[in-house]
Symmetry: C2
Subunit: 462 residues, 2 copies
């Protein structure tokens, strides 16, 4: 029997017993919580994919009468979830048009003369293209091929034992960079807007602009220190890479002048980003802007029905996202998260809010060891942790932002901590043990910087 089956089989009787013992909670809320936690267990134990687990959870919640259909399907017409789905499709157009690659190459051409410079340039490229890539996984798919070609052509290969010449360092740096590029923009990671919506449910408003402002300094410091730190503790054997800017230039020449498709995609993007930035003032719907962008990309045949055919993953993401969001929203509506939060916050009673803040954020980061997906982590714990902090008097905006940042910067704590790690972890340039070690150190660096510099910065701006 597969090991993955053991955990759920052992837990099934426990699930059955708990189902009928709600410990004083309202039975429906308690059972929905059990279904939700059961889903997380199935996913974390790798028994089922998050999609299969969510679908079964929804079905169980509905057929057992724990949830009514209207609440269960309510996630599917949430504008911000539709925004993610549309943005998924748009990101394919960016890849297909070559625009993402061109921007990255431009940066490498300018700043890639040494391995350290190359590390910085990869992360900088990532930081700059990030707002246009609401899926950090999709973004990793743009950066990785360029990075892989660079390593390979610089004579650092997996097959001949030269992986540490520069490849291992660059892979580790770029993977760690994704964790902070995702933290910089509200639109740089699929679950960020979900987190913002959950925060709004608890009365904390987060906008595209406020997110960026709060993130600027701590992400800036992390960006300044991370490639350098890795260069010291995980040094590449080659430190000078005069060929990288040339290679980028060559690739750019090979790409030729900016194509019709790139130009249209660029225009669509600039318009979309401008409209998103102005959407609050103009009173226009962000999702409608995204739909409009996608519509133009389809009408101009940059994104075709043939391209769409291969985007089943976007549908899968849409489905499990909407399902888990619906369950989470219902748990919140039933007051369950509030009750749990009050229970935990009783543990902290008497502690000054600043200690509660530090304990919550640190615990939130460490607990990411248990999670395979940033989104699952956020869905399971962000709402509860935020609620506990609010009860203890922690300023809402400070705590919400820090937990959302932590959702991103803790991504490299394990190889499976984010789907955006997978290309790097599977490249052969990095061993799992190295990722655990250096990913842990990088996460410690990020946590330290965000809790000190980040806290002070947000405090001043609030």
């Amino acid at each position: 029997m597969r090991l993955a089956l053991l955990i759920p089989l052992l837990l099934l009787p426990l699930f059955g017993v708990l189902w009928f013992h709600p410990f004083g909670f309202a039975p429906e809320a308690w059972r929905l919580f059990l279904i939700f936690m059961g889903t997380i267990v199935l996913v974390v134990s790798q028994t089922l994919s998050i999609l299969a687990a969510s679908i079964l959870a929804l079905s169980l919640a509905l057929l057992s009468g724990t949830m009514d259909p209207q609440a269960a399907y309510s996630g599917f017409d949430e504008g911000f979830i539709l925004l993610i789905v549309v943005a998924f499709l748009i990101s394919r157009a960016v890849v297909k048009s070559g625009l993402g690659k061109r921007i990255a190459l431009q940066i490498i051409k300018r700043f890639g003369g040494s391995t350290l410079g190359l590390g910085y340039s990869m992360v900088a490229a990532d930081l700059l293209i990030a707002p246009a890539f609401p899926s950090n996984t999709a973004r990793s798919g743009v950066l990785y091929p360029i990075l892989h070609a660079l390593c390979h052509d610089s004579g650092s290969k997996v097959t001949d034992g030269s992986r540490k010449k520069m490849g291992a360092y660059l892979m580790m740096t770029s993977m760690s960079g994704l964790a902070i590029s995702s933290a910089l923009w509200l639109s740089a990671m699929a679950a960020n807007p979900v987190g913002a919506a959950i925060a709004a449910q608890q009365g904390v408003q987060i906008t595209f602009a406020s997110w960026l402002l709060y993130a600027l300094l701590p992400v800036g410091c992390s960006f300044a220190l991370m490639p350098y730190l890795l260069h010291r503790i995980f040094p590449p054997q080659i430190t000078q890479t005069p060929q990288a800017p040339l290679r980028a230039q060559e690739e750019l020449r090979h790409m030729g002048p900016i194509s019709r498709n790139e130009r249209i995609t660029l225009a669509v993007f600039v318009t979309m980003v401008a409209l998103w930035a102005l959407s609050e003032g103009l009173g226009i719907d962000k999702t409608a802007v995204a739909f409009g962008g996608l519509g133009v990309l389809m009408a101009t045949r940059i994104f075709t029905l043939e391209d769409l055919r291969h985007e089943g993953e976007a549908l899968g993401t849409f489905i499990w996202f909407a399902i888990l969001y619906g369950i989470s929203a219902e748990l919140n509506r039933l007051g369950f998260i509030g009750e749990i939060g009050e229970g935990i916050s009783a543990l902290f009673s008497g502690l000054p809010w600043f200690w509660v803040y530090l304990l919550l954020v640190s615990a939130y980061v460490l607990i990411h060891y248990l999670f395979v997906s940033q989104t699952a982590h956020l869905l399971a714990l962000f709402g509860v942790f935020l609620h506990v902090g609010l009860q203890a008097g922690v300023p809402g905006e400070l705590l919400a932002m820090m937990l959302l940042f932590a959702t991103n910067f803790s991504a490299v704590i394990t190889p499976q901590g984010s789907s955006s790690n997978l290309l790097f972890a599977g490249s052969g340039y990095l061993e799992a043990g190295e990722i655990y070690r250096f990913g842990g150190i990088v996460t410690a660096l990020y946590t330290g910087l965000f809790l000190t510099v980040g806290t002070a910065w947000i405090w001043v701006l609030m």
Copy 2:
């Protein structure tokens, strides 16, 4: 300039003028109607895909303030639309598991000894597997490969000029069969449940069971006559096919005993159909049943994430469906369809309701010449025609059922009348002119049978 661009460019100024002249209608309702009709024009003129057109329509409706986001996205959390999406995915599992093919082969093995018998057996197979295939396009994908192999191995080929030996007849018959198999079951065509939902908006309740009951006799008569009629007017050169049952038997032997995946898929299906049939009595949600079935198929690895990756089309269908449904629902909510309907019904004032009924159904069938998709036809006209008939005193259930049947049986009136025609029309066995001619005759047969036998039957049962 492409011809397809001419129509919208010519219509654009007209659109602009009409936008500001609502002819006494409420401006928002009028503009939403213009957006909706503009979408249909773009699709019918083949300027844009229905997905691209719908996305642009949604964006325009939102950014112009014609619709608010909540109404615009309301289609996305409609249970019956989610049911279609899930059923799309489930139908892939039926194809992948081989279950659909096995059922079809069993029927051919028994009844396929002559070309006429083969024609009947293909249509019978189609009728029987139809309730499990909510996409008639997917169903055509199951039937066509079997049919194509049969024609080919019977010595009727496209390449050597022997297409009329039996291939042309069988292709025409099978394609015409899809039009009535889709009419037999509520779950046999993607837009059928949409139609039922629109009917419900106007107070006409249609269930899985009532649909089947009303369809039984007219579909039965159509099934009895259509293959025979085509055999007379479009005769195959070979009429005896002793090899067909053998071939089916051989293929069945080749398939071996029923596999684990087929067995599970079959069990899931029987359970799903049983629960669907009992859902009203048990008070359970049909979509939850479908989600449960998909969850089991995923947990048993019959439908995998890799399979999902290629199901982007399901996402596309979900999006344009939900968008157009949302617009249609909003038009209805604003009272616009009612006003239009009253205008048209004024033309019929004084006519007895039976004449109104005949005129509406006949017009509905003929107008399918203008439509590329059954769904677009239904979305554009079903609600209005039903409303007009109700105003004129036509019994609601009779008219609703007949228009829904007509949405299906008019599918073969042109080669592009339904996406389920495309495989047959593109097979090389049929010329477009033949499809127009014999498709027109078959549609006339269906219309006659449904209006006489069908009307009497529904009248008796109502």
